[in-house]
Assembly symmetry: C2
Homo-oligomer: 332 residues x 2
């Protein structure tokens, strides 16, 4: 690889107003050309149509954009997914650097090399595995985030603790208040810790054949809840929170964990500003969407359930009526 001469900074309209000039000027001061490419903020724009327009803007920079060019994804998870997919497929793969600006992207999207756009049939159905060359996380960027967005990221931290790290649950319980305020030192410790957990799982299993599936804890249910409630009406971490609550209740009912652990998780989620209850949840819609989830293989639903503190396992033999009952409990 030769040195970078041209960087394309892909950024949504909200983040552009806060950070685009800083980013492009910083790159330019290092002697490279940098151009910001802006797309409209909002998960509803994470689709092939936005992808196609981003590609138009990127390729309009030819010949400056050649195989040595670098894509910079500056923003939250939607931006990383979109810009990463552009990088994965422009000129059959450009290098990219991820600069997450939300806690959720810091601890989740920044590790694993998953890129994607949504399709009307389901989320993240079109994409590629494409590892970034570097990830730059600045915890001070979190200070521009509303509290609800901090909670959104903390849901993934709870997930990491539950699947692989019993001590992490203590850390979250001890520091819940300061973490909600994005206190820089504690937040940096949390991010470093969570990135390490996710990196360990992902590097053991980059293409999700085995234990990477553990990261889907709360997500098979969560994605379906998110889709049934409607994009934009519930945040990803909130849906995952509900998914984890349902999974814990189901696990407790099957005797995989004690009711005390399920209650402890719910209590922590509430302290972190996350929901354990969703008014008017459409259980039939959630079920039907889960059947279309790409994590279903050959039509059989696979669920990740806790089997102890910091341990999960994959199950594909849960009776549908038990799943339905756990989902229904979220709306009661």
């Amino acid at each position: 690889m030769k040195s970078v001469r041209q960087a394309a900074v892909i950024v949504d309209s909200n983040v552009a107003a806060l950070h685009a000039a800083t980013a492009t000027e910083s790159i330019q001061s290092a002697g490279m050309a940098a151009t910001a490419i802006i797309f409209p903020a909002g998960e509803e724009h994470k689709n092939l149509s936005t992808y196609s327009r981003l590609m138009d803007s990127l390729l309009a920079l030819r010949p400056a954009v050649d195989r040595d060019a670098v894509v910079v994804a500056l923003g939250g998870g939607v931006c990383g997914d979109l810009a990463g997919f552009v990088a994965a497929t422009a000129l059959r793969g450009l290098r990219w650097v991820q600069c997450p600006t939300t806690l959720l992207a810091d601890v989740d999207a920044s590790v694993g090399g998953k890129t994607a756009v949504d399709h009307p049939v389901g989320k993240n159905l079109i994409g590629a595995f494409h590892q970034p060359s570097a990830v730059l996380i600045d915890v001070l960027a979190l200070r521009t985030l509303p509290a609800r967005q901090i909670s959104n990221g903390l849901a993934e931290c709870v997930k990491h603790a539950l699947i692989a790290d019993a001590a992490g649950l203590d850390f979250l319980e001890t520091h819940a208040g300061q973490l909600l305020e994005a206190q820089p030192d504690l937040t940096a410790r949390l991010i470093a810790h969570d990135v390490a957990i996710k990196a360990k799982v992902v590097s053991a299993d980059e293409r999700e054949a085995g234990i990477r599936a553990h990261l889907n804890f709360g997500h098979t249910l969560g994605h379906a809840i998110e889709a049934s409630v409607g994009l934009g009406r519930i945040l990803h971490g909130e849906a995952v929170s509900l998914g984890m609550v349902a999974a814990c209740r189901l696990a407790a009912q099957r005797g995989l964990i004690g009711a005390d652990l399920a209650a402890r998780v719910e209590s922590l989620l509430l302290r972190l500003g996350l929901p354990t209850h969703q008014e008017g949840l459409d259980v039939g819609a959630v079920e039907s969407i889960m059947q279309h989830d790409k994590k279903a293989r050959a039509g059989r639903l696979r669920l990740v359930l806790p089997v102890g503190l910091g341990r999960v396992d994959v199950f594909d033999d849960i009776p549908p009526q038990q799943v339905r009952q756990a989902v229904a409990s979220l709306g009661q």
Copy 2:
């Protein structure tokens, strides 16, 4: 990987009429579900818009299309590029099987794992590297091809001979007549031989960092000629033929090869029904398009030129006026 339950056969409207029923029935008789997905024939449809519609049709087959599903590309190079890119990016990567139905696809597109669509700015600018699980070549399918399409494929065979296989040039000269008629035994020998050459180059250098660039012999010029003449007015192999003629003349002028080898190549191309001359070629347009070619790095044109019989090398120091003169000679 689990066994395949659902195959999606992606095929253009021309090939569908000839072979789609045979292919889907053959898959079904092996106990799998198979659905044909048809797109309009013609390179002008190798774009993001067709890709998006193919993705819609594929994802409409969910949940039957899950991670164990297989995409079958049944057709020529356009179909392989399009269907391969769909496979590379549906659910972040499905397995795919390539069933080429043209000689060009047999000897070229079937090896290397390159998938792509075109963009108004240039050919193949959006795509991915995604190796097929299997390639099935039936030489009898070539009997449905017009003669011009056989010549189109033979241009790549001449290219392979010139970059890596001096003996291949003899084979083509000896059997030119029978190869033009797609005589099955000789054609099968030729394909096996050419696939082995390309596979050797590609496996040594899957991501085109080094010697894979040799495969671009005749292509940097050829792509620019193809774009300047207009898609659909000249076949890929015809443009590559012109590109090779210009490259050989340029190499002879610089003393890299003798004028006798350049003349021998031109004579063979003519016998194989390929052009060595293009009336009214717009030299300025060709030059300008080459500058936008993705094979230009940091704005510098890289050309592959012959340096002997069966040997080429990459040059990035050819004076533009020499390139212009060689291109102009094609129109005189």
